[in-house]
């Protein structure tokens, strides 16, 4: 009886020591989980999730402070990937954060723009070119479609236009599998 207890205690000490050593010896620098989550997020930097950018949201998810269904631009697919990565249950997008929309870019009506630079300051990825009192233009390929520039515009000259499909972005469809379900 006593010897069994001793053996168990010794085992506990040895294994605990080994684990402790491993924790120090194989310590992982940084927090790879945040980076992994961040890699899944679309980098729109729109803040619809309630955090000031994708990285902060990723950090919040990793820290258990945010749900995985708060990112409208990432959409269902993004939620699925996060669920896979974190081993959590899939849940539909939280409507409070917004709805999934087709990818759009901001377009500035150049006739109306007064050159106030407010949108330039709002753009999280510096995708708007222009200077004070000069007309501003959105650099299309850089625009993430975050819509953060729309609210600050005093003359409401910014609209979101869906990005049309081109031959370069066109995709083949998933082959249809005809399974007739029995009645």
């Amino acid at each position: 009886m006593l010897s069994a207890l001793l053996v168990m205690a010794a085992l506990a000490v040895v294994i605990g020591g080994a684990l402790g050593y491993a924790a120090v010896r194989f310590r992982v620098e940084g927090d790879p989980l945040v980076d992994k989550i961040d890699a899944i997020l679309p980098q729109t930097q729109c803040g619809q999730c309630g955090f000031p950018g994708c990285k902060p949201y990723a950090t919040a998810i990793a820290g258990g402070e945010a749900e995985i269904n708060q990112c409208p631009p990432g959409g269902e697919e993004g939620i699925r990937k996060l669920a896979d990565l974190l081993g959590r249950e899939f849940k539909p997008l939280n409507a409070e954060n917004g709805v999934e929309k087709p990818k759009s870019v901001a377009v500035i009506d150049e006739n109306t723009c007064i050159g106030c630079t407010l949108c330039i300051q709002a753009c999280p990825v510096d995708a708007i070119a222009g200077a004070a009192k000069q007309m501003h233009t959105v650099v299309d390929p850089l625009c993430t479609g975050c819509e953060l520039c729309i609210a600050p515009c005093p003359v409401d000259c910014i609209t979101m236009e869906p990005v049309g499909e081109t031959v370069d972005t066109w995709k083949w469809h998933y082959p249809v599998i005809p399974i007739k379900t029995a009645a």
Partner: protein, 554 residues
């Protein structure tokens, strides 16, 4: 001299169906009412238009300039008037539109001034630029700009392969070209040989085309060259795939992602050789090609077709049968169903295959894969197609890539032999385009992340600098205050100044808004008679003008 031939694994032998379209010689096509010439007809950048609506153009006039070096020029196929430059439905499975030059022929078919290229006295770079501006691209179907391939490899190019294999059923355009115009193909090949400094030229032709082989051999003999050999290769689809043909003729296997020049071999289609001779000897750019019209038609045959000719105009010459339900560009193994009957013939169009349910019946319902391995035995790329299918179907694209998804040449052999009637190639096309889309998405996300982080850093830095300045100022004013009375004043002054600044900014914005409003009102009044503002630039027109891709029935 007997050439040792090699074998590639796999391949299939479908009925060739070539006899019917080789009875008649190559025929001309009456000028259509309109030619719709898409600017983007090749791999690489989209040419920008050089003409405007209303302008008169001559036959062979450059109407689209190459966009950078990885691109090619586009020319007017006949003389006439440019009606419009607008998006038109492309000869592409997507059914999307692309910017096209619409030309109304004037019936005179008047050429621009052309002159032979003094290519022997030109530098290789000059010749390549000329070929790019003559719009020469690979006519075997890949439409890769030829000038980019006419450069000797780093360790030299020993062999130039001319691809006359033409392995796809129904297609006979290269066959007829070789039978009728072998001499010019040989001359074009010799120009390419000189540019590549290749020791030998091997012309590979499938042995089901004895007449083409004989004509090409005669043409080589007439020319007197000793470094060119015409070689009959066994008929087995896809022997005409560039990599398969190079393997058969030289034994060299060029892996995916590598260029054949790295292995000292370069490969061109017979039609490309012919087009290069046209450009060099006559100074004529590429404005037409030989197109086979076959399938569900009364009189299958080959035609010399101007680019931009509507496919239905062409196919009508061969007598379209009543039960026709589709046009396929290319052959039955790799061809693509066209989104409409009137899409234009482009540089990639080697065949307009007229289809019907009777000729190409829909496959039996897809059944479960039983891993029988027929597909693996038929695959000319030595892949395990059923594994690719498995992972593509499960949308497990990483795994699919591990099984070499991108080595797949989409030849269709696997789907051809599959006893479960699985549309295997559809799964690979789907998986490939998903992988590409994901890569694009990831690249865009990476750029956005980088720019976001850079911006945050910049804002932090500016804040820090401001705070430092403020601290310095405060310190200075404190120092002043300690020596003089009225210390509070020093604290209040900056705050007051900042409110004043805010107020003045707001006033400025208000003034600007008022100005803008006035401008807009004026503009509205001026524009009142016009119904709608002009559409955005044509090339960014929404895709809704084209039929939805999933509904490709025509």
């Amino acid at each position: 001299m007997l050439q040792k031939l090699f074998k590639f694994n796999g391949g299939v032998k479908p009925a060739t169906n070539k006899a019917a379209s080789t009875r008649d010689p190559i025929k001309p096509v009456p000028m259509p009412r309109q030619l719709v010439v898409p600017l983007h007809q090749h791999v690489g950048g989209t040419p920008h238009p050089l003409v405007e609506a209303g302008e008169q153009v001559l036959k062979g006039q450059r109407i689209g300039a190459a966009d950078g070096n990885v691109s090619s020029a586009i020319h007017a196929p006949t003389s006439g008037r440019v009606l419009a430059i607008e998006p038109r439905v492309m000869a592409h499975s997507s059914g999307l539109s692309s910017l096209s030059v619409v030309i109304e022929p004037d019936g005179e078919d008047r050429w621009i001034d052309t002159a032979p290229m003094p290519w022997r006295s030109m530098s290789p770079d000059e010749i390549r630029d000329e070929l790019r501006d003559a719009g020469i691209v690979g006519l075997g179907g890949a439409v890769f700009p030829s000038h980019l391939k006419l450069k000797p490899g780093n360790e030299g190019t020993h062999t130039l392969v001319i691809n006359g294999a033409e392995c796809e059923p129904f297609i006979t355009c290269d066959d007829l070209l070789m039978r009728e115009r072998g001499d010019q193909i040989v001359r074009g090949a010799l120009i390419m040989q000189a540019m590549l400094k290749a020791q030998r030229v091997l012309v590979g032709i499938e042995d089901n085309k004895p007449e083409a082989i004989a004509q090409m051999q005669a043409a080589v003999q007439r020319n007197g060259t000793t470094s060119m050999q015409v070689i009959a290769i066994p008929t087995r689809y896809p022997a005409g795939g560039a990599k398969q043909l190079i393997r058969v003729l030289t034994g060299i296997e060029v892996p995916h992602g590598r260029r054949s020049t790295d292995y000292g071999v370069q490969c061109f289609n017979t039609g490309t050789a012919y087009a290069i001779a046209d450009a060099v000897e006559k100074g004529r750019p590429l404005i037409s090609r030989i197109v086979t019209v076959a399938g569900n038609v009364e009189r299958p045959g080959n035609y010399e077709v101007l680019f931009g000719t509507p496919m239905d105009h062409l196919a009508a010459l061969a007598g379209i049968k009543a039960d026709t339900d589709r046009f396929i560009m290319g052959g039955p193994m790799m061809g693509f169903r066209m989104p409409a009957y009137d899409v234009p013939v482009v540089k990639a169009t080697n065949c307009v295959l007229v289809g019907s349910e009777a000729l190409f019946p829909a496959p039996a319902p897809e059944m479960a894969c039983i891993r029988c391995g027929e597909c693996a035995r038929a695959c000319p790329a030595d892949l395990q197609p059923f594994e690719l299918y498995w992972h593509s179907r499960a949308k497990n694209f990483g795994k699919a890539q591990e099984y070499h998804l991108f080595d797949c040449i989409e030849c269709g052999c696997c789907a051809y032999v599959c006893p479960s009637h699985i549309p295997l190639v559809d799964y690979y096309r789907f998986a490939k385009s998903e992988v590409w889309a994901r890569e694009r998405q990831k690249d865009a996300a990476d750029v956005a992340r980088e720019r976001f982080e850079f911006r945050n850093e910049r804002i932090e830095r500016e804040k820090r600098e401001k705070a430092e300045k403020l601290a310095a100022k405060t310190a200075a004013s404190r120092a002043a205050a300690s020596s003089a009375p009225g210390a509070e004043q020093g604290e209040a002054a900056p705050a007051a100044a900042s409110t004043a600044a805010d107020d003045s900014k707001k006033a400025l914005i208000a003034a600007a808004m008022a100005r803008a409003k006035a401008q807009r009102d004026a503009a509205d009044q001026a524009a009142a008679p016009v119904a709608t503002p002009p559409a955005s630039a044509p090339d960014s027109a929404p895709a809704t003008t084209a039929p939805a891709p999933q509904d490709r029935s025509i």
